[in-house]
Subunit: 312 residues, 4 copies
């Protein structure tokens, strides 16, 4: 065991969550699962993935970008037609502004491939611009189809974690407990969990940041239909053995929870993360039972997942 | 073994299929594989996934939604044009109703990007509405393409299970048997199976609901080309050792079968489930041979998969 | 080992490749990897998957279906317009046939959303049919996009197998050898292989069909860049120990090769299969070296993969 | 261990990275991860995958192909209309060239389904060509959508490797070290690494090329958030035990690094490779610490990943 832990410590040192305690970020993983890391040094596009960005931004931002790009494209092509001059422009052409507006309307009719035809390109130049805009419009549509599909088909599990980690009597000793559930109504299969601990410990008179892969009582379940309370039993092999609240607080401990499951409906792996700092730990408490039963169904009130009650 | 089972019991307690026997739903998993669980407590969209819904509803419902949304969009935009007034509307405009109808037709011509052009927007306002509708129409098409692809490309295996679990002589003792097959003509590879048992047992004078992960004689096959009879041998390590029909009935046992395979053609994992209650168990019966051979092919009559014959 | 083999035998009995030797198909797996199995007994659509079909048919058939469905849809809608009567039909309408042709052209203009507008619906009935056809056309396009993507993005590995299985001196004894390669220029990673043997053996005076999972000298390689000769060493644990050509022929042996790999470019698992009957076995032969080296590249002449030379 | 290494050697012999040292390519894997292998002997399309090609070419080439195919299609159909004669061609038809240009413009209006309608087919022949072009245009769009999605959704990890392999004191002995990171801002989960070594060794008086799967101190980490220095400890079981710089140079050693991880956002496996020749090895050096900390974030300057400092 000790050897295994030692290895894990090295592993995490290797992964760059280094062992020096100065200037460390306060926490590695935020409660929402994001990581406190920033990459620099290469060009913008080496660090940045356009597709990743367009797939992960929220719907409001995405829709705004769709609308903005549609507007920009049509303003660009509209201006081009206006400068070139469409031969048989639509009805109103009293002012240059109105002609520009008509050009933009015409651009949209070309871009979207509507093509009413009242306005249509008569000169070679205008025809060539329209010829190009048609291709751009087709590619815009093709791209939108791909992006919408990618956004929609992203893993839809929404793992909900208890707000606190509990440390409470468990079997003959104590245990670290986190409760989680899938808020979505779909079923997650083969759900696995890891509980990592990082804390400052004194070693040979030096304070070092150390990583531990905490042994779980159960690290996999066949399906996550209801809730799951994951447990690390604090036995003699545990790095938390003989720790009390004061000791844990001084160690500035952070518990990281990594969850992995399989969404059957969409044939997709689903991952989720969260983290608890020492001040998110509740001592001597256990999670309250929350299930209700109605019409042969088990009801899971996901909002009550953090409920606990004190134990002596 | 015992220790392993103990762990599994805890696992399932943790997963929320709790150990108390009061107010439990009659069965956890229905014969069709759905689970008797409902999530509440968060907002509707935390529990509900639009994509999940649109991908899993049947084709009749899906097509109705496509048609309904197309109608609604065109009624909305048609009304807008009608209120604004398209300058050069089509032929008939004797009545307001006919003008409204024409506006809806025109809306569809814009939405679908057909754009015949007889009717077309003349005023700035009408042009701006059309400008917007074009984008909506493009996105509608993009979305439809994504959804149709997602619906079509969902795993297509259709695992068929025998209607009964059989308990029959097996080797020197008895065995629990379920027969399954893939109704589809494609081949499933690396098919794995789990057989879980939940039943009420007396422990220290209290009746508890307990979960067991039953040991399979064979839990994986390289390909599921024909049928597969999965077997749990009831040996000394089995929680069913020394149980007879009466004992099983009193325990209100439920056998849950979880199947996982790989669809080679579509590069997809396929999962399926079913469950048998104690009253779905047939004692002293074995599955009848059902294969036929014709023209060098093995014929699998999938409808006969449940056929069994009594053994003494 | 023996125990393991025993288990495997049961496994395959369970999978329905039964142990009785009467009326068995001559071979289970064809050289091209397809399986000699047919499913019957349920309704057509329980056995048949439309998507599976449209994705796996060859391009000629697929394109013919695309064209046929396009023609049929436009003939259907063209007939509808013709019966209803489009108010302002195109130029030529001397004969009913020409009007029908014009109606079909108009249908295509609507279906494809081209909508030139010379012909366009004037009556309410014609407008309503066009309104419907626009939606059908959009869905047709959406479906085509999904299907084309699914067809194109199917795993592209093309595993090429040697035409013969060789049995030749290997280490101190003999070995069964098959050579394979990926004809495509992409790289397969983490390639795994299984070699299964089915043959008739005498047991307790009865001839039984038995299955064996042959132990491989190496069952996984990190990447399949060139060719790979898989080897089953015929040692004492092998079911082929002490077999000669006559013995193998009498056993009507069939060697089944299952290959699995990972296509890095497309993030897809790739599977392939083949099978060799006893008459596809070449005794006392080893595969000829086939690599050439040019300009720092290793050249793999995939067409020479079956080349072998006799050994004494 | 020795036995395991022996097996691995055979594995690689089997995979065709043969043991003869004559005429071998100078290196198997290039620094950018591509492999020095070429497949010949079958037909072009047996070796070549159109989809693979269209998905892996860079954006400039891809866009050029899109534009070229769009131009070619419209020149082809434009020529067809010009030869057939569109009845009511657009405005200008002074010269045959201008008519041809108009025909090409008209083709694009049909291909893209814009269909302004000023020019439109009047004769049966022209109508039938247009009827066909509409289908081609729809399929072009469908294909473009699929390809764009496939290109965009390819795994986006960009693993950056140190330019040199370091050999430096490690624990009580020495170790081979490579540092890597993910340049992209997304998180890779469950990252696994393999370090393979190929070198010429003297065996029974003959120089043979041998392959070794080097034992890693740590071969998997839960997440690759920062950098990861992978280490092969040169202990007694290592094939590099007792090697110094001269020995390694004479062996013409090549270290191959294979990395595999999981991109959570896109539910995709990500693979990467690189290789170091003996002249890419830096003796007695260790990687410099490169992290910075700002505003609670750990900053990873990916461009400094190769930085090392000499140790005695």
């Amino acid at each position: 065991m000790a050897n295994n832990f030692f290895k894990k410590i090295n592993e995490y040192k290797s992964s760059g969550f280094g062992s020096k305690i100065d200037h460390q970020p306060e926490r590695f993983i935020n409660y929402n699962g994001s990581v406190n890391v920033k990459k620099i040094g290469l060009s913008f596009f080496d660090h940045f993935s356009v597709f990743h960005f367009l797939v992960t931004i929220n719907w409001l931002t995405f829709n705004s970008l769709v609308i903005a790009s549609y507007l920009l494209a049509n303003i660009f092509f509209g201006l081009s037609y206006w400068i070139i001059g469409i031969d048989e422009i639509g009805i109103k052409h009293d002012t240059a502004i109105e002609e520009l507006m008509e050009s933009i309307y015409f651009s949209a009719q070309t871009f979207s491939t509507v093509g009413y035809g009242r306005a249509n390109p008569g000169s070679h130049l205008a025809n060539i611009v329209a010829f190009s805009e048609m291709l751009v419009g087709m590619m815009y549509l093709a791209l939108a189809a791909g992006l919408l599909f990618a956004r929609f088909s992203r893993p839809v599990a929404k793992i909900v974690f208890s707000q606190k980690t509990l440390i409470a009597p468990y079997n003959e000793g104590k245990g670290v407990m986190v409760r989680l559930s899938n808020a979505k109504s779909n079923l997650l299969l083969e759900v696995e969990v890891k509980l990592l601990l990082v804390m400052n410990v004194m070693e040979k008179g030096k304070e070092l940041r150390k990583f531990y892969d905490l042994k779980m009582e159960m690290s996999m379940i066949n399906m996550l239909a209801l809730t799951w309370t994951i447990v690390h039993p604090i036995d003699e092999a545990s790095p938390l053995f003989n720790f009390d609240k004061d000791g844990l607080d001084k160690s500035k401990a952070e518990f990281m929870v990594l969850v992995k499951g399989y969404n059957n409906t969409l044939s997709q792996q689903v991952h989720s993360r969260t983290s608890y700092k020492y001040y998110d730990v509740e001592w001597n408490a256990k999670f309250s039972p929350i299930f209700e039963y109605k019409n042969g169904h088990t009801i899971v009130p996901v909002n009550k997942i953090s409920q606990f009650e004190k134990v002596l």
